[in-house]
């Protein structure tokens, strides 16, 4: 059973995620280093959903990968649960833009992959995998191969895989970017539904203003490269979010605010 895993209270009032003056510069041979992120600071609270919103190439994906431990920051503090993140953590789950499923494994075996790596692929893991697949509407597809699934279905499998080990922090890099708009809207509701059931903290990178506002508690708007936080929007809309909320005045106002922060509207 997935259920709620731990209380939302943070020990000593310290936020779940703490980022201070995070900097990232990529060295370039024969040139000055390319500074992609220049001083990003914000706090992430347990159980919250934060979106990183910004134009292409602004550094938001780089920031997510730093938080995921896949690359190292050049400077600043990146702490999750009090630990400085320098490598991938066991209680993180990552969803990439491409599903990255292994074509030689069935759907179920793909979902179980993280548990296999940890050598914990027993009955409990199997039950969780089956439940997750059922939650995303893929019951009956356990034995199918990825090649037999559509892009949206594959991404749903990737989502299950990211959740099977019950991560505390779910990191998502434009997970619905490769999908058509209707599928994307379905997936957004699915994500919110699952998040509700698992209580994970989520950090999602997107370049869609409406996606960011619809899904999140807070939206960190990234400026153009070198990235800083242009605006930090508290969405304030209640959960569970309904598709109709996209069309209420408050929503539009928030989108407008994001647009101003991005510099695309006045």
């Amino acid at each position: 059973m997935i259920g709620r895993q731990r209380p939302r209270i943070e020990p000593g009032g310290r936020p779940f995620g703490h980022f201070k003056s995070v900097r990232k510069a990529f060295p370039r041979p024969g040139q000055d280093a390319l500074t992609v992120i220049e001083g990003v600071s914000f706090d992430l609270h347990a159980g919250k959903f934060v979106s990183l919103l910004g134009p292409s190439g602004c550094g938001k994906t780089t920031f997510l990968r730093i938080v995921a431990g896949l690359i190292a920051a050049t400077g600043g503090t990146v702490q999750i649960n009090g630990i400085d993140v320098t490598e991938p953590q066991p209680d993180f789950g990552v969803v990439f833009q491409q599903p990255n499923l292994m074509p030689w494994r069935s759907v179920l075996k793909n979902v179980l992959f993280p548990m296999e790596i940890r050598r914990e692929a027993g009955k409990a893991a199997l039950a969780r995998a089956m439940e997750l697949l059922s939650l995303v509407g893929l019951s009956g597809f356990e034995r199918a191969y990825p090649a037999e699934l559509s892009g949206g279905m594959q991404q749903r499998v990737a989502l299950c895989r990211a959740l099977v080990h019950q991560p505390k922090l779910l990191l998502m890099d434009e997970p619905f970017g490769a999908l058509d708009e209707l599928t994307r809207m379905e997936m957004q509701d699915l994500l919110l539904d699952i998040r509700n059931k698992t209580d994970a903290t989520v950090m999602l990178v997107t370049h869609s203003i409406s996606e960011a506002i619809y899904l999140s508690d807070t939206v960190a708007v990234f400026s153009k490269r070198p990235a800083t936080i242009a605006d930090f929007i508290e969405v304030g809309l209640p959960y569970p979010r309904k598709p109709e909320m996209r069309y209420i005045p408050d929503f539009t106002e928030l989108e407008h605010r994001a647009g101003r922060a991005l510099g695309i509207t006045r």
Partner: protein
């Protein structure tokens, strides 16, 4: 759908029958000697009459080919793993591999004969030498072609290097290994036959030479046909194994 299947079998068959018909007619009407160009009918007749002889000759060639091929896999795959995972080994070994491949095996066959004698070993060695290169190159290419997304996934999941190798790289490389194996098995047959041509006492290649030297055209051609069939059969076995071991490859195509 059914018509397509029928078409697929019927058309090649019709083509072959027509070709054989033309061949048969030509030998009949031109009066050409059976030593120079035997008719299909004569070849079939020789196959039936000399069945025992042909079968006896098939066995050594089969053994040489299969063992040479197996050796190429047993040595080639681990070598490819080393070359793919170590930049040093890659730089050191690859040029040597290419250089040895450039030497025509036909040219070194007599030397191999001197080294290994008239028996099965020299043929095995030649079959191995020709089959070895495609196995190494294709396997190494496969290992280096692991999709970056999967490697990153494995890293995010904190997989150990051994886990990455066994669970990601090797399965991802399997299609490439089979591509190399399919080329290798066909080349192994050629290698074995080259060995038999240069010096042997048994085998289908040997039979082609001896039948030819005794001016028994139909028998020589029958041996050729059997060699061809042997090659096709062995290739089919590898292709079948490929479909068996990679069920997912069919999944996307329906």
């Amino acid at each position: 759908m059914k018509t397509m299947h029928v078409q697929r079998s019927i058309y090649p068959l019709v083509g072959i029958v027509i070709l054989l018909g033309i061949w048969q007619a030509y030998t009949y009407f031109s009066g050409i000697s059976q030593i120079v160009l035997p008719s299909p009918a004569a070849i079939v007749l020789a196959s039936i009459k000399q069945y025992q002889l042909l079968l006896q000759a098939t066995w050594p060639t089969l053994v040489e080919t299969v063992l040479g091929f197996a050796l190429a896999l047993l040595i080639g795959v681990p070598l490819a793993v080393c070359v793919a995972n170590s930049r040093l080994l890659n730089l050191a070994l690859y040029p040597i591999l290419v250089a040895t491949q450039s030497v025509p095996k036909v040219a070194i066959a007599p030397i191999i004969l001197v080294w290994f004698g008239l028996g099965i070993n020299s043929k095995l060695a030649l079959a191995f030498l020709v089959a070895f290169f495609p196995v190494v190159v294709d396997t190494a290419a496969g290992l280096q072609a692991t999709p970056v997304g999967l490697l990153e996934l494995a890293r995010a999941l904190r997989a150990s290097p051994l886990q990455v190798f066994m669970k990601v790289q090797m399965p991802a490389a399997l299609p490439f290994v089979f591509a190399g194996a399919k080329v290798a098995i066909t080349l192994a047959v050629i290698g074995a036959v080259i060995g038999e041509f240069v010096g042997s006492v048994s085998g289908l290649g040997n039979l082609v030479l001896s039948a030819n030297s005794q001016l028994e055209g139909p028998l020589a051609w029958a041996a050729l046909v059997w060699l061809s069939v042997l090659g096709i059969l062995l290739f089919s076995v590898v292709a079948f194994t490929e479909r068996l071991l990679m069920p997912w490859a069919e999944a996307g195509r329906h």
